[in-house]
């Protein structure tokens, strides 16, 4: 870490840890309800738990992206953040809006629009908040010494994410229109502009961790985000098959969304080959594990499991079943949760000047969260496929099918416990690092981590 204001990122990441924990608690409430233990039904019915679970997910990811941007942009632009006070205000207001929304969900204060449950009044506050964030980032880049590709891709990813939030705020009387534009937010985020953000973070981490020449890494970044948009934009059609839109979307959505895994495959190959070429010499091995893990797991969760149900002939049976939940979990985990955890793992030693590189907690956190998540994906997968065959293909009664699946929900919850144990380790490790300190004159933070990483950086000339 070279600039004082980069420390702001720490608090965004701390917010991530807090919101992630809450998200998991609400996940368990649903997991137990699916096992048949719905004792909380009167206070926290399933729809409340679900809205809280998915919205906290989105908020902690946005908080993670913002933290990453506040760390990456000064480093790439070679200057302090512009108006760091705004960044602090922005963090506090983001948390206030998020927490208000989540509390409101317990009192029927929401909109029944999956993933966009935040009530309209709070939407405007979100917009103001994000504009503030973009302003700080933009001014820092504008006044900076250099404008790198990584910084530009990150900025435009964030800007486009903000713009794409707006179609989700139009009110329609007709539910078919409402659903059409809801996907401009949900799909074009996760299978479009968020991939830009992820790609930029990946490229930043690879530059730092492998020491490979920036020009090479950034060239491939363009190719990958090129594939993302080439397939992802028209791939939106895979949500238009059966929701009232015209039949040509079956063709358009089918062909283009089937190409979407290429971008994720590209990401995985790119990360692995760069790490191999770079020889993995950076002492922060854990950060590299998360980075490469992210590239691989996003291909499995988003690319492979997404492809598994994206063709119209398959989707007509799996649409709106637990098969979707299976894919949703591993995709969000592999692509976005892991890239943020990679960023945090990289940033902590840099910021605090402590080199806990060999911590057993960090290593165990990586493996238990991932194995737990794969187990959850498996449980959702078994439930989803059974549901498709029994309910959709054989015409059995919905509730009867669901009740016969309760035993697999036990498996889901057991795997979730494993993954939660990993998350607890990760957070323990996060706390063990302590608070961030100001950077020293020599470049890195004071202490062993700073100088080891500093020496690495200067020897590799990044």
């Amino acid at each position: 870490m070279r600039y004082k204001t980069q420390k702001i990122a720490y608090w965004f990441f701390a917010a991530c840890m807090l919101l992630f924990t809450l998200q998991i608690i609400y996940g368990f409430i649903m997991g137990f309800a699916r096992m048949g233990y719905d004792g909380l039904h009167e206070i926290i019915p399933f729809n409340t738990a679900r809205a809280v679970h998915t919205n906290l997910l989105v908020v902690w990811m946005l908080s993670g992206f913002m933290g990453a941007a506040y760390y990456i942009i000064p480093e790439e632009s070679e200057r302090e953040l512009w108006m760091p006070k705004l960044a602090v205000i922005q963090l506090v207001s983001l948390l206030l809006v998020g927490v208000t929304a989540v509390i409101g969900y317990h009192f029927n204060y929401w909109e029944g629009r999956k993933f966009l449950e935040i009530p309209r009044e709070l939407d405007y506050l979100v917009v103001i908040n994000v504009l503030t964030f973009l302003l700080v980032i933009f001014m820092t880049i504008w006044k900076g010494k250099r404008k790198t590709t990584t910084a530009m891709v990150l900025f435009f990813g964030l800007l486009a994410a903000a713009l794409l939030y707006l179609p989700g705020m139009i009110t329609f009387k007709n539910i078919v229109f409402d659903s059409f534009f809801r996907w401009w937010v949900v799909h074009l985020w996760v299978e479009g502009v968020w991939e830009l953000i992820m790609g930029a973070m990946l490229s930043f981490l690879l530059i730092k961790l492998t020491g490979i020449d920036r020009e090479v890494i950034e060239k491939w970044l363009y190719v990958i985000v090129g594939f993302t948009f080439l397939s992802g934009i028209l791939g939106t059609g895979h949500h238009y098959y059966y929701t009232g839109a015209p039949g040509y979307w079956l063709m358009v959505g089918g062909v283009f969304s089937a190409l979407e895994p290429l971008a994720f495959l590209g990401m995985a190959m790119y990360a692995l080959s760069m790490a191999k070429k770079g020889g993995r010499k950076h002492p922060n091995r854990i950060a590299l594990m998360w980075t490469l893990g992210c590239a691989v797991m996003s291909f499995v969760g988003a690319g492979f499991l997404g492809f598994a149900h994206t063709l119209p002939g398959v989707n007509i049976w799996t649409h709106g079943t637990l098969v979707t939940a299976m894919h949703g979990h591993l995709a969000f985990w592999g692509a976005y949760a892991m890239i943020i955890l990679a960023m945090i793992s990289y940033v902590l030693p840099e910021m605090t000047g402590r080199s806990l590189y060999k911590s057993w907690m960090a290593e165990w956190a990586f493996w238990t969260t991932n194995i737990g998540m794969i187990g959850m994906t498996g449980a959702f997968g078994v439930m989803g496929i059974a549901q498709v065959y029994m309910e959709r293909k054989a015409g059995m009664d919905f509730l009867e099918v669901q009740e016969s699946l309760e035993v697999h929900a036990v498996g889901l919850v057991l795997a979730a416990c494993l993954m939660t144990a990993g998350v607890i380790l990760f957070i323990r490790n996060f706390i063990a690092y302590g608070l961030p300190v100001d950077p020293t004159e020599t470049g890195g933070s004071s202490g062993a981590a700073g100088s080891a990483a500093g020496a690495f950086a200067s020897s590799k000339k990044s």
């Binding site: 719905d38 059966y242 015409g395």
Partner: protein, 238 residues
Amino acid sequence: MLTKSAAKAFFLGGTALCAVAFLLLTLDTLAELPKRSHVEDMTDQVVRGHVIWNKNNCMGCHTLMGEGAYYAPELTKVVERRGEPWMDTFLQDPEAFYPGRRKMIKYDIFDNEAVGAEVAAGNRADVIAFFKWVGNIDTNGFPAKPDLVPVGVASNVDPRIMARAPVYFQTVCAGCHSVGGKGGNVGPSLDGVSARFDADYLRKWVSDPQAVKPGTTMPTLGLKGENLDEIVEYLGSL
């Protein structure tokens, strides 16, 4: 070898091309959606039903056109599947139809006692109208009809017994009771019920089960007049 500026051109060009194609298709879709969703049938009542759907986040448990949560039944064709009278009764007290099973919220807005019979009936009619309208949207064939035929249909089923039942019986009572092997299993099968009870008892029971057996889980359906006569006559024939 690919240069960085060529890579950048690939990114910008590809994105622009796809974005334009997407916008053109969007324009066409927006022109088609009113026809495909039959806006001409989208009455105020339907819009009010949509507002109820939206305000209470029913999508947080159910799917509609395959969108939403996977905890409760898919509702696109619910009117076709259940019929209006069944839905009207169900919404008043969802648990009565599925005692001890996965729970839906018992909404005050649908409950005669909580908000008054007229308002509650109006709210129920609104959501039912909304579901009816959704059921007619052209969804390119979703949800598909089951294509694996279950083997081994029970042999003692005589569907004719159900077929000659009054409509109210087929849509509401059959949600909980079976006759001739068809119908629900919340209450006992009504085959041979006339041998167990006489017509007077059945009339009293059906019009107000609580009065006959306080605390029973069979709901009071408020049947009167001709409807009641018809049902009692049918029960007498079983």
